[in-house]
Structure formats: structure tokens, C-alpha cells
Amino acid sequence: MIEASHLSKRFGSVEAVRDISFVARDGEITGILGANGAGKSTCLRMLYGVLTPDGGRASIDRIDMLGETSKARAHLGVLPHAAGLYGNLTARENIHYFGSLQGMAADRLRSRTAELARILGMESFMERRAKGFSQGQRIKVALARALVHDPGNIVLDEPTNGLDVMAIRNLRDMLLALKAQGRCVLFSSHVMQEVAALCDRVVIIGHGRVLADAAPQSIRERSGAATLEEAFLQVLGDTEGVS
């Protein structure tokens, strides 16, 4: 379970996030939806502890990210917006590096890597250097890297960026599988269809605030719009006066 309570963050004079609270539950996929610059990334970065909030707190499985950073992080897998690999290392070495830094023992790491290679369909390129990987192969390795320590919670920042249809479908199946295993999945996106198709719960963020926090179905019903996209625009319009 990932919990944000009253998070706020400012960069200089810009208030990127103001008082954001929501809960992403285990066994659910939670989507953070927002326009570019709405504060999605800042919010996620506070949740996985690379940014320190100016106010409020973030916790993973009720472990405070600020107080017990290392312990909280061990419960969390992160796929950041920029999920680059080490080009001179093979896919396996990339995954092993992160696994061993997570403190995993060698034999456990081996079996877990083999399992992920099978699930994600990476067996054909496990021993190749990451330099020449396609975007799809790269995202798979980055995802395996985030999941190697078998975390109960996964945060993904715009994971579908730059992926082709096949790769997006793969990723979607992957996220559904993680949900089926009872994990808590939290991802950000600005693509409506993606969120509508996948999420049990949608948190809409605009100008650093939570504008809506409900199931996609109920957001749509409440606004009376036919699609989530229209509902989204309506929700934004309420606060910004966009016609």
C-alpha cells in the first residue's frame, strides 16, 4: 500500500505539488492522470523518496519514507521516467546489479532473474549488451530491474512513453499480472485510454492538487461524460475555467 498524505513541494517560487493525499491499495492498479507539468512526476518522486516533501508524508506499507528510507524502499520497485540501462552490461548484469544492491543473495537472485526472464519474455536477449536494445527490450529490462527484489509495491512514471502497440500491450498484461498477485501498482500517465482500460482507481491531478479520486466508471458517471477524456477535461475545467 502506498500512501500520500498532504504532500507539498515547491521549487523556488513554483508550487509544484500542494496538499496531495491519496491511497493506492494492494491488489489494485491506481493511475495518476494529469496534463504535462501537473505535478505527477514530482508527486511520484516524493513517494519513492528521491525528493523530500516540504510538507506531509509518504509511506510504503505504512513505513515512513522519510524516517525509515531504506526499509521503505526495500518494499518498493521503481520504474522512473528516465529508465536508462547500462549499455556495456548485459541484460542479466543490469538486473543483477540492482538485485545485489537490494541486498539479495546470489542464488535467490539467479532464480528470480530466471523467473522474470521467463515472465517478461527476455530469454533471447539476456546475455546481450544493452547498447543495441529496442525500446521494448529496454523497458522490459528496466521493469525486471524494478521487480527483481519481489516488492509488494510498484511505482511506474509514464511507463508507456515511446513504446509501440505491442510493447504497450505486453506492459499492460504485466501490470495486470502484478495486480493479480495482490501487489499495489501505481503509475502515472497522460494517455486516457490506457488509464481507463487498466485502472481500478484514478487520481486526477491538476496544478499540484487532487481534482478527483475515484474509479474511472464513477468519475465518468459523476460528470455525465461519455468518455474518461471528456470527464477529465470537465474536471480540469471546474478549477481552471477552461471552456
Binding site: 528521491v50 528510507t69 531504506s70 522512473p80 536508462g84 546489479y97 541486498g103
Partner: protein, 392 residues
């Protein structure tokens, strides 16, 4: 500690597979100095040897007015090129490089010589050209010895002891030992050694910081449950390892080069064998973590490979500054200077080259000072890595 070791192993392995790192750390850095050095010293040697062996070539005009002088010059082994030049023509010939040095003997030479009056000769040379300046010096020396020989004969003919004309006898004593003389030539070799150290870690320092950011792997790394100081420590340690390899290669190359450069022919002996190389390695070892921490620190502030390269190239020059100061003020080894990293290593290495005894205390102070600065830089780097701005 475990995390630090994991980071170290990964950085070491990853860069071992990177051609750019290998070329700069294990080829260019360590070999640049010794090769350049070997070439320069052998060229210098050849020049000196050739110059003193080769007969002096002198263009002479009006030699018929001074048969005695002409014979003397020939007896001294001077190759005379007879020409008929006026002063103007001689000037043009020297300036145009057609003649190195021209000796003009005017018509009035003979009558004045016979009358025992100062007989004029004109030596035309270009003192701005280091090559012909040496030729002119030699010509002047030979002319001088002819003149003093004639003077002695004249005094003797008049019944005066020629010794009266030598009121002071100047004796010179050159205290430079053969090794000491070599040190002048070898002085800047120490810089190449320090250069090799820094060059060895250059690309690793860039790759493990700015490279990590440019590849987009930094944020994932920073979100791991690992202390930032372990990350920084592992990266600096890997940089140190490459610097040590580069230092070792560089010293080996120097030892090899000096085996082939015939320094003895210049009356020098360079005290650089395997033993000296090991001493150098020990002296430079504390400079390694300093260089690694400095480069990692600077590179941590940059956003891209390119930017890091720009700043770190400047860092490569940092060790030259104290060394340059030392040679301008001709500083000698003293304990207070041991507090300045790079200068202390330079002075200690120079002392070893000169075969001078070095104080254990000096070595300890030099090491302690370098390691203290290194530690301070490491702490600063780790602190910077804990900042949010690290994400970029």
C-alpha cells in the same frame, strides 16, 4: 560496505568494456608522457652530439687579406666557403638563410695587422636563430684564440712576458653531478606521471556521474535502499583502481624508454630503474584518491558527458600549477611544501631522481596532506549526492 563493493565491481567491469575508457586510461594517458619524453630527449641528444662533431662551416669573404688567419681557421678544422660579399650582401645572405655565419675581412685588415693596430673583421650572424647563434659562438671562440695567440707572440717579440697580459686566471668548477644535470631535463617528467594518474580516471569519473545521468539510469539507482555514500565510495574506488593501473603502466613505460635513451652520452645518468619506479608509485599513491575524488566531485555537478569533459580537461591542468610555481621560484624540497598535493609529489620524485636522500617525515606529511584533501572531497561529493538537485 557490501554495496560499495558491488558498485565498485560494476563500474570496474563496465568501463573495462568501454573502448573510450580503455584508450584514455590504459593507452593515451600512461604512454603519452614517456613516448613524448623519449622522442624529445633523443632529439636533444642527437642535436648536441651532431653539433659538436660536425665541422664548423664559415663563409669567408676577403680571406686573401689575412692568409695567417685563414690558415689558422683551416687548422682548427673550420670548413671555409670562400665568397665575395659586401656587407650588404652578407647581411642578406644570413637573413635569407643562404649562409649561417659570414666572416668579412676588409681591405684595411692587412695594413693594420702589419702596423700592429687592431685589425677589423666583421662577423655577420643572426642571434635570434638558436642554430646559427651556436655557430657564431664557436666562430667567435676560434677568432678569440687566434687573436690571443698573436698577442702573445707580439709581446714575446718585444721581450715582454705574455703572462703580464693575463692578470686574472679564471678557473671554473661545475658542481652539477651527471644526475643533477639530467634532472633539468627530467624535471617535467614528474608532471607526466601525475598526468597519467588523472588521465587514467578521467572517463570513469565522467561515466559514473554525468554518464549515469545522461543514460537516465541515475534516478533508478538513487531510488534503491543504498546509502549515497556507498554509491559515491564505490565509484571513487573504481576510479582509483583505473588510476593505479594507469600510473603503473606509465612508470613501466618510463623505465622502458630510459633503457633506450642514451642519457650517458650527455654526461647524465638517469636514476630510473625498477626500484625508483616502485618508489615513485608509493609516492604517488596518496595522490590517486585525491585525483579520483576531485574528478568525481567536479563531474557530479555536470549534466552531460560533454560538459563533464570540458571541466575535467581543466582539472587535468590543476597539478601543473604548483609545479610551475615551483620551477619559477626554483623551490627546493622543504617540509612546509609537503602540505601541497602534487607539488609535494613532484619535489619528492625530483629528489629521488637526483639521488638525494628523502626524509621519511616528508613522505608521511605529503601522504597525509593528500589523503586529507581526498577525504574532504569525498565527503563533499557524498553530500552533493544526497541533495535533490542531483536528479537534475
Amino acid at each position: 560496505m557490501r554495496a560499495l563493493f558491488i558498485v565498485f565491481c560494476k563500474e570496474f567491469l563496465e568501463n573495462l568494456r568501454d573502448r573510450r575508457t580503455l584508450v584514455s586510461a590504459l593507452l593515451f594517458g600512461p604512454l603519452f608522457g614517456p613516448v613524448l619524453f623519449g622522442l624529445m630527449v633523443s632529439r636533444m641528444l642527437n642535436q648536441t652530439v651532431v653539433e659538436s662533431d660536425e665541422p664548423l662551416r664559415l663563409t669567408i669573404s676577403g680571406g686573401e687579406h689575412a692568409p695567417g688567419l685563414t690558415r689558422f681557421l683551416q687548422a682548427q678544422g673550420v670548413k671555409l666557403i670562400v665568397a665575395k660579399l659586401t656587407e650588404q650582401e652578407a647581411r642578406a645572405a644570413v637573413r635569407g638563410g643562404r649562409a649561417q655565419v659570414v666572416l668579412i675581412i676588409p681591405d684595411e685588415y692587412a695594413p693594420r695587422f702589419i702596423a700592429a693596430m687592431p685589425a677589423p673583421v666583421l662577423l655577420v650572424a643572426d642571434s635570434a636563430d638558436s642554430q646559427t647563434r651556436k655557430v657564431a659562438d664557436r666562430a667567435r671562440l676560434i677568432l678569440g684564440s687566434y687573436a690571443s695567440g698573436i698577442a702573445q707572440l707580439r709581446l714575446q717579440a718585444r721581450g715582454v712576458s705574455p703572462l703580464l697580459a693575463v692578470p686574472v686566471a679564471v678557473n671554473e668548477l661545475d658542481v652539477a653531478t651527471p644526475t643533477g644535470r639530467a634532472v633539468v631535463v627530467l624535471g617535467f617528467m614528474t608532471y607526466f606521471v601525475l598526468f597519467a594518474v588523472l588521465m587514467g580516471g578521467l572517463y570513469l569519473a565522467i561515466d559514473s556521474t554525468a554518464g549515469e545521468r545522461e543514460r537516465g539510469s541515475l534516478e533508478a539507482l538513487l531510488s534503491l535502499p543504498v546509502a549515497r555514500s556507498s554509491l559515491v565510495g564505490g565509484k571513487i574506488l573504481a576510479t582509483c583502481a583505473y588510476m593505479c593501473i594507469s600510473l603503473g603502466l606509465s612508470l613501466t613505460a618510463f623505465v622502458c624508454v630510459f633503457r633506450f635513451v642514451p642519457l650517458e652520452r650527455l654526461g647524465m645518468s638517469a636514476n630510473l630503474g625498477a626500484g625508483t619506479a616502485l618508489t615513485f608509485f608509493a609516492i604517488c599513491l596518496p595522490f590517486v584518491p585525491l585525483g579520483a575524488a576531485l574528478m568525481t566531485f567536479v563531474a557530479s555537478f555536470t549534466r552531460s558527458y560533454r560538459e563533464a569533459q570540458t571541466y575535467l580537461t581543466a582539472v587535468l591542468l590543476v597539478p601543473t600549477l604548483p609545479i610551475a610555481f615551483a620551477s619559477i621560484y626554483s623551490l627546493r624540497t622543504q617540509s612546509s611544501l609537503m602540505l601541497i598535493p602534487s607539488l609535494s609529489q613532484h619535489l619528492l620524485m625530483t629528489s629521488v631522481l637526483k639521488d638525494e636522500p628523502i626524509a621519511v617525515l616528508d613522505v608521511c606529511v605529503s601522504a597525509a596532506a593528500s589523503l586529507t584533501v581526498a577525504l574532504a572531497l569525498m565527503v563533499l561529493t557524498a553530500r552533493h549526492w544526497r541533495r535533490e538537485t542531483m536528479l537534475g
